[in-house]
Amino acid sequence: MSTYSKSSIKSLELRDFSISYSKHSNAISNAHFTFLQGKSYLLTGTTASGKSSLLRFLKGFIPLFYPATITGEILLNGSQISIEEFWEYQGCFGFLFQDPALQTVGSTVEKDLAFGLENKGFPSSHIQNRIMEISQELGIEELLERKTSTLSGGEISLVSLASILILNPPFLLLDEFAAFLDYPARKKVLRAIKSHQDEKHTVVIVSHQLEDTLDLVDEIIVMDKGEIVLHTARTQILEANYSILQNYLNLPEIFRLGIPLCEKQGVKPVFRSAKELYSLLRRENIE
């Protein structure tokens, strides 16, 4: 697949990183983020924890649309660069909004998908090929002729995802993407994201809903009031401090009850589903 961005991002590190919109408070204060190529991250936490601010900074919305003071070091592929230099890499980031309807700019699906590439001045045949590629990948070939205003919530989410993936950004940022979708539609969208993610693509998801995003990511970063309170691999999340999980996350009840149950039984709480928890507890009991 062709890439359109100038260079690749193998690693991105933000050190002592702060964003503040006003003098009195920091949206992010002295946090340290590391993002590696090919990994996927879930960024979660309370409402004003600074997770959206980070995404907005990465895509350049801060300070373009939100005036803010930014301090800290940026290390790209290991070497330090200034914030101005970092802006040059904007094209590497694909950004998806919470409300996919806000993201559409074309009147029909086909035109909406074409928009990004038209803008870069590619010949019509190339654009057509890419539209076919991406709509096959996401299974939206049948929607191409439809008007964007007549699409259902699930359909428009897939279309807006396609409109970003068609530019093939190595770094995908999802800001509460498709948070309003119902269960089947959400599952479909998240599956599409998961199958797109590979060693060349990095994904950062901001979400409150853990049930369905937990399975999707390699690492989890929990933020509160601009600070990182937890950064751990997904497989170890349940072993992390239970009070952190309980206080900051919309943890499904299976974890809310399952983790203390495991602790009392003296087993490592490594489970993702009811079946796994059951066998974990029962095996212990049989022995």
């Binding site: 895509k59 350049g60 919305f61 373009l64 649309f65 904007q90 094209g91 694909g94 950004f95 998806l96 909004f97 806000l102 993201q103 559409t104 700019v105 074309g106 009147s107 029909t108 086909e110 035109k111 074409a114 928009f115 990004g116 590439l117 038209e118 803008n119 870069k120 001045g121 590619f122 010949p123 019509s124 654009i127 057509q128 539209i131 205003s149 409109s163 970003i164 530019l167």
Partner: protein, 221 residues
Amino acid sequence: MKPDPRVAILHLIGFFIIIFLETRIGWLTFIMLMFLVFYLTEASYRKVLYVTLLLLIPSVIILILNILFVSQDSDYLIVILIRFWGLAWLFNWFLYAVDPDLLTQALVSYKIPYKYAWQVSLAYRFLPMFQEESLQLYNAQISRGIPLDRGMISRLRFISSIIIPLVVMSQDKSNRFAEALTARDWDPDSPKAFLNPLKMEKNDWLWISSTIIIFLMIILL
């Protein structure tokens, strides 16, 4: 049948000029009815009826103002009314017949810089969004008890409950739209291509020739 947007723009400008140059009631009525036919080919008759009924209020106001301040001459008043209705139908036809995406493309083909062409089509795109947004606000406000649905007077009294959020929200929406464009790496100065280059088809030539014939008829006769 939707005309090529370039043809539609020519058509719009041409007849816009004609309707102001022409003063004979017979010809004006003919042009006006022609616009109505165009409009009916694009929109459903219900929509046309609705828009036409909405036009009654401003046309009565125009009539009264003209009688009071300008002239009581009946011929003059009829001409004013015909122009008003004709233009309303003409612009409504244009809104239906031309896709905002293609409008940009058409304006660019007339050598208007992409930056400005895009702005025109943007404004055009925001119209239905504005309508949708005000309906949502109206519903939300009456649901919390603001008596916007209890007659003209109380609606006017509480109109701020729609206007204020609408202003805030349209600002918000346009910011969001700017973000959406940035998310697509949009750059107003970068080179542009189009997925489907505009092509003139048989029925576009028909549009052009019929426009020219009517144009000539009115000027010569």
